[in-house]
């Protein structure tokens, strides 16, 4: 089994694995939902509102500094998911969970785990929708461009909504992503993958299509795990290619405290991707 890179503080430990959401077993999904519910119930800077807000509102919108239209799009979002995942695992009394990815290539619909308003026990599904904090909504009302009806609708919807598959929106196909993976230089790969990433945001619609509120929708994390996974696949395919322009090595991915170069090796961050991951009791 691969292990994380050992350091003085952290001898080599077994990696954790992110898997496809469609491969989660019933108990794994229940644990993941419990972790989300605990994080959403936490009101301080370990909680869901704080971490979702880092992307857009309340200000500052950190993702615009490093995460969109920038050469560190992949690096900033890897750092973001890494820190979010640590907080998710530590929420409540602790949960043995990892962020799953939404494989929109093979499952071109919102995964059932996220699409159902209630879980199998009839309780509200914390992966379905999240109530956005008042400060973010207030800032959103103040500055947003209105829609065709002259209304700022998203900021008036306190609970996240989706409007998947509106006309003109598309999910990428396997051929599209194969074409992206064919670029052997990081700049072309990043630019093209970021563009497809944006198309998925717009296909989901609702709050996901809007930077200020996108990360409040729980599907955001599964979408970005998929993007991060594709980058990991690219890194394995081109092991000798630079994953970062050298001038950006020491660029700090604020507010996460990691440098861009510090995000390059997922095994140092303690995780990797697997088709499925099941603990076997002996």
């Amino acid at each position: 089994m691969p292990t994380g890179a050992p350091t003085a503080q952290n001898p080599a430990v077994a990696l954790r694995y992110r898997t496809s959401v469609s491969e989660l077993t019933g108990p794994q999904l229940a644990e993941f939902r419990a972790a989300f519910a605990d994080m959403q119930a936490t009101a301080d800077d370990r909680g869901y509102q704080y971490w979702a807000g880092i992307h857009g509102l309340p200000l500052p919108a950190w993702c615009d500094k490093y995460g969109h239209g920038k050469p560190t799009f992949l690096h900033w979002h890897r750092a973001y998911l890494y820190q979010f995942e640590l907080k998710l695992r530590a929420s409540g009394h602790g949960h043995d969970v990892m962020l799953p990815w939404w494989d929109w290539l093979n499952d071109p619909a919102i995964p059932p785990a996220y699409a159902a308003a209630r879980d199998p026990a009839g309780a509200p599904n914390p992966l379905y929708s999240v109530r956005i904090n008042d400060l973010a909504l207030e800032q959103g009302k103040r500055g947003a461009i209105p829609n065709d009806a002259g209304e700022v609708q998203l900021a008036r919807q306190p609970d996240t909504i989706r409007q998947e598959g509106l006309p003109g929106t598309h999910l990428p196909t396997q051929a599209d992503i194969d074409q992206v993976l064919a670029y052997s230089d990081i700049q072309s790969f990043t630019a093209n993958l970021e563009d497809w990433h944006g198309q998925v945001h717009m296909w989901v619609g609702g709050h996901m299509s809007d930077i200020p509120f996108a990360a409040y929708d729980p599907i955001f994390w599964a979408h970005h795990a998929m993007i991060d996974r594709i980058w990991r696949i690219w890194q394995l395919r081109y092991p000798d290619a630079a994953s970062l322009p050298a001038t950006l090595d020491s660029e700090v991915m604020e507010p996460f405290g990691l440098t861009a170069s510090g995000t390059l090796d997922v095994t140092i961050l303690g995780y990797d991707y697997a088709s499925a991951s099941t603990s076997i009791n002996l």
Binding site: G56, L57, L59, P60, A61, D64, K65, Y66, H68, G69, Q139, G140, R142, G143, A144, I145, P146, N147, D148, V152, Q153, L154, Q157, I161, Q163, L166, P167, G168, T169, S188, A191, N192, E194, D195, W196, H197, G198, Q199, H201, M202, G205, G206, S209, D210, I211, P212, E251
Partner: protein, 148 residues
């Protein structure tokens, strides 16, 4: 769905007469402060470009996507990019510094033979609840790059 269609832009594609390995259209200083939108590029498309299911047969050459900031949520001037930076400012550039977008049009351009090619850009935003598409496709210059 909001949409904006650019007037045809003539690309003098002298390079296209030679063999090339790859061709990109590069948009400089693309404004990302507004709504999210997808910009689809069409070459020599007769009439209006289609807005759904674009195909190579209809001149579709590629796209870029702007995941837009969605408006300005700060006080006046918050989203204005300063024209010049303080020479001692070692931090990252302004968050809303205009972007460079690159679209690989190799496949479509290889199928064409004319010296001058007409580029039409269709910008669409699925604005049912979100912000209206205003000032979409705002950029300062455009370049056609071919690589041997």
């Amino acid at each position: 769905m909001d949409r904006y269609i650019s007037p045809p832009i003539e690309l003098t594609a002298a390079q296209s007469r030679r063999s090339f390995r790859r061709a990109d259209v590069v948009f400089y200083d693309v404004d990302a402060r507004g709504a999210s939108y997808v910009a689809r590029l069409f070459l020599d498309v007769p009439g209006e470009p289609p807005d759904t299911s674009p195909t190579r047969e209809k001149g579709y050459a590629g796209f870029f996507c702007i995941f837009g900031h969605g408006g300005c949520f700060g006080d006046e001037g918050h989203c204005e990019v300063p024209p010049a930076r303080d020479p001692f400012d070692l931090g990252p550039p302004h968050a809303l510094t205009p972007q460079v977008k690159l679209v690989d049009i190799t496949t479509q351009l290889k199928s064409m033979s004319g010296e001058t090619i007409s580029l039409t850009v269709l910008a669409t935003s699925p604005a049912r609840e979100g912000p209206t598409l205003v000032n979409a496709l705002e950029f300062t210059s455009l370049r056609l790059l071919t690589y041997d």
